[in-house]
């Protein structure tokens, strides 16, 4: 496979995954804004949503003040924002078009029609009433693409590079959500058990589609330690850091077998996976969750660079 092809497949998966994550974050932000408030503004909530998505700086430069309609517009439609859903779908489609030969017809058609349909939406017609439906649509298109990938692609390097892109992006996203949200939620821990507090913990879990599965696993109330444990170390939870690294190490191992050569990136990924395997949530809390997550994000980025170098993504 061409190095350029591997690079494009990797980024195609990342963009699809990112579009889905942006939709999830927006949904949570939106739900919290709907909460009854006593005098306080919803600025903090939008700020943390933008921060989780890595869009805060760009937004402030463009719009300044935090306004619901502007935030929604910036994250959905603004093509000057490289992480907006419009940008993600356009980039994914551009990569897919350049690698049309590597995709199955189902993959290409789901990608192409997602882009066509989204491009046809006029931002002005998206009211707060129609927003949830649109966000659902984004998630379902992402699921459709991923379903097409899982169901139709050969289990060769095309598949492995796609998997690697998906799970590097997902790991990054889960880590950022956890870091930002947790930071904002901590000050309210003295009011544990209050209605609003529970709602916010649920929202954190909701952003990774885990508010119900948490209960299935723990049969308990939402508790910070358990939520962090669920999102970081739980191997059943498909968006946890541990799950992402299980998938990543598997895909990288498959690549090493496929090409008959092992690179440094395999070792790096396994080291991070082992760290997650052996970690204990109480220790992490004691030495600082924020530091742990920042360290993880750094490792995840480094892994991406090592993969790019090992497989000649851009020579």
């Amino acid at each position: 496979m061409l190095g350029r092809t591997a690079n494009d497949l990797y980024w195609l998966s990342r963009y699809i995954e990112r579009a889905e994550n942006i939709a999830r974050l927006l949904e949570v932000g939106y739900r919290i804004v709907l909460l009854p408030r006593e005098g306080e503004s919803f600025h903090e909530e939008w700020r943390s949503t933008l921060e989780s998505a890595g869009c805060l700086q760009g937004y402030v430069q463009r719009h300044g003040e935090l306004m619901s309609q502007n935030v929604i517009d910036y994250m959905l439609f603004d093509t000057s924002n490289p992480s907006s859903i419009a940008s993600c779908l356009a980039s994914a489609r551009r990569n897919g078009r350049a690698q049309r030969t590597a995709l199955t017809r189902e993959m290409w058609e789901s990608l192409n029609s997602a882009w066509l349909e989204f491009s046809a939406i006029r931002p002005a017609t998206v009211t707060s009433n129609s927003l949830p439906e649109l966000l659902d649509w984004v998630r379902s298109r992402s699921a459709l693409y991923r379903g097409a990938l899982l169901n139709t692609i050969l289990r060769n390097d095309t598949y492995y590079f796609s998997q690697v892109g998906t799970f590097i992006e997902r790991a990054d996203s889960t880590a950022r959500i956890l870091d930002v949200k947790y930071y904002h939620l901590l000050p309210s821990s003295e009011m544990v058990g209050s209605e609003k507090d529970n709602y916010q913990w649920a929202a954190l879990l909701r952003s990774v589609s885990a508010h119900r599965s948490y209960r299935w696993v723990f049969k308990d109330h939402y508790r910070p330690l358990k939520i962090a444990d669920f999102m970081i170390l739980n191997r059943q939870m498909p968006r946890s850091l541990r799950s992402c690294y299980d998938e990543l190490t598997a895909a990288l191992r498959d690549l090493a077998v496929f090409y008959g050569i092992r690179h440094d990136c395999q070792t790096t990924a396994e080291a991070t996976r082992d760290l997650l395997l052996e970690a204990d949530m109480r220790n992490i809390f004691q030495s600082g969750l924020h530091e742990f997550v920042q360290d993880f994000i750094g490792r995840n980025n480094k892994l991406g660079n090592e993969i790019s170098a090992a497989y000649h993504f851009s020579d």
Partner: protein, 464 residues
């Protein structure tokens, strides 16, 4: 369909019966479905400029063009004769130039021609083939008269539309296929792969590695490039994926550099190698021409093959066929006046209102005059251009082009069309039964180019 006498011609009878019982609304609905299918699969041609606005569908007409078995047999013989002669001509012109010595073609028409590459003199391509993939543009001008309008010996395009049009028709009208015995065209990619393999350099220790070189996603034929690479299972490369190291052409893969043996290139000669041709080009590969000359990569079609489809050479093709095959052409040319010849120029200037005048190096229906469809002012303006630079023009009579039923806005009615069959030349000549039918969508128009608003149709060659 109604031939030139008014009767429904034999190959169209089953279609005519079927059409007779269709509602116009049903046909329109099928037409809309076809458009959705094309749009969804991204079968677009890019127009230079902005990415999103820059993708257009070529209009597709759902009523097929039908060719009877015995008509096709004769076309086959004529096309094979023609492409063998074109390749013999190319070999000769880049070697001993016997045809020039025999005085059959004016020497300066070759040597002064920008499509003639002196760098190719004495180069021996594998199996002596220069033009491996040729699209021959034909028009039917009478009951039994097909004529060659143009040869495309460089990088002919449109074959993906031939395949996708068939795919779409089989999806929309399975019942029509059961009423007509239509020969399949689906094995074109396989035949192309066999052809490419058969012209690999000699003495390879392994199966040849084949790649298709595209200028990139913004090229108007990008869809076709990716489609063909995909169907053949070969890499679709851009110039930045290729590099010449140690006298070999190599591509940059996830496992490092890998040798390429056969390059099906869809970039023009000028852009192939900045060290030899256009030094400003970013679409080519520095050093590739040296690798080619040393016989360590096959370039398809060969550089310099364009001299055979130059419009100034066209009027000599019947002489070329006779010179190399010793027989008269099975498929005639359209009568052509080379304005570089004073007697022809005189005739053309006197008959501008009846003629089609084309630029020698033009393409895509630009820079031409269609006499009968032009105003007096347009004709006079063209006359001035012609007098100023006569060697730049050829002229042909306007032909009584055949027509075929086509779904127009308000009804099914007749539209003019042409046909481009695709022929492959390697260890043998392979011709798909069919081709790309282009149709003028405007009533009475003779211009079928997609860049001028023409559309396409599925082309059916019937089984005997």
């Amino acid at each position: 369909m109604n031939g030139f006498g008014g009767e429904v011609r034999a190959p169209y009878r089953a279609l005519a019966d079927w059409l007779g019982v269709q509602h116009l609304d049903t046909l329109r609905q099928k037409s809309a479905e076809a458009e959705v299918l094309f749009r969804r699969s991204g079968i677009t041609f890019a127009v230079y400029g902005a990415e999103e606005a820059g993708e257009r569908l070529i209009p597709f007409d759902i009523l097929p063009r039908i060719i009877a078995a015995e008509e096709w047999r004769r076309l086959e013989l004529g096309i094979e004769q023609r492409v063998r002669a074109l390749n013999a001509f190319l070999y000769d012109i880049y070697h001993r130039q016997e045809i020039l010595k025999a005085g059959k073609i004016p020497e300066e028409l070759i040597t002064q021609n920008s499509a003639f590459l002196p760098e190719m003199i004495g180069v021996d391509p594998p199996r002596g083939v220069y033009s491996h993939i040729i699209g021959v543009d034909l028009v039917r001008t009478g009951e039994n008269d097909f004529m060659v309008l143009e040869d495309n010996t460089r990088t002919p395009s449109g074959v993906s539309y031939m395949l996708e049009n068939r795919e779409t028709m089989m999806h929309l009208f399975p019942d029509l296929f059961s009423r007509n015995r239509v020969r399949p065209v689906e094995n074109y990619p396989d035949a192309l792969l066999k052809t490419l393999e058969s012209v690999a350099p000699g003495n390879l220790d392994a199966e040849p590695t084949i790649a298709l070189l595209t200028p990139g996603v913004y090229n108007s034929a990008y869809f076709e490039h990716s489609f063909l690479a995909d169907q053949m299972g070969v890499e679709l490369v851009e110039s930045t994926d290729l590099v010449v190291i140690d006298g070999l052409l190599r591509m940059k893969t996830t496992e490092g550099l890998k040798r390429v043996d056969v390059l099906y290139r869809r970039v023009d000669d000028d852009f192939l190698d900045p060290l030899v041709f256009d030094p400003t080009s970013l679409l080519g590969v520095p050093g590739i021409f040296d690798v080619y000359r040393s016989g360590r990569v096959t370039i398809v079609n060969a550089p310099g093959a364009g001299i055979a489809d130059d419009k100034a050479i066209y009027s000599y093709i019947p002489a070329i066929i006779e010179f190399y095959t010793g027989k008269s052409p099975i498929l005639p040319n359209v009568e052509t006046y080379n304005c570089r010849e004073p007697s022809s120029l005189k005739y053309v200037l006197e008959h501008l209102a009846e003629l089609v005048v084309k630029e020698v190096h033009g393409s895509g229906g630009y820079g031409m005059l269609v006499g009968p469809k032009s105003t007096k002012e347009q004709i006079e303006a063209f006359r001035a251009k012609l007098i100023a630079n006569p060697t730049n023009y050829i002229a042909q009579p306007t032909l009584a082009l055949s027509t075929c039923p086509t779904l127009a806005d308000s009804s099914v009615s007749a539209r003019h069309l042409d046909l481009r069959p695709f022929v492959l030349i390697g260890d043998q000549v392979r011709l798909m039964p069919g081709g790309l039918t282009r149709v003028a969508l405007k009533k009475g128009s003779l211009v079928v180019n997609s860049s001028q608003g023409g559309g396409t149709k599925d082309t059916w060659v019937l089984q005997e």
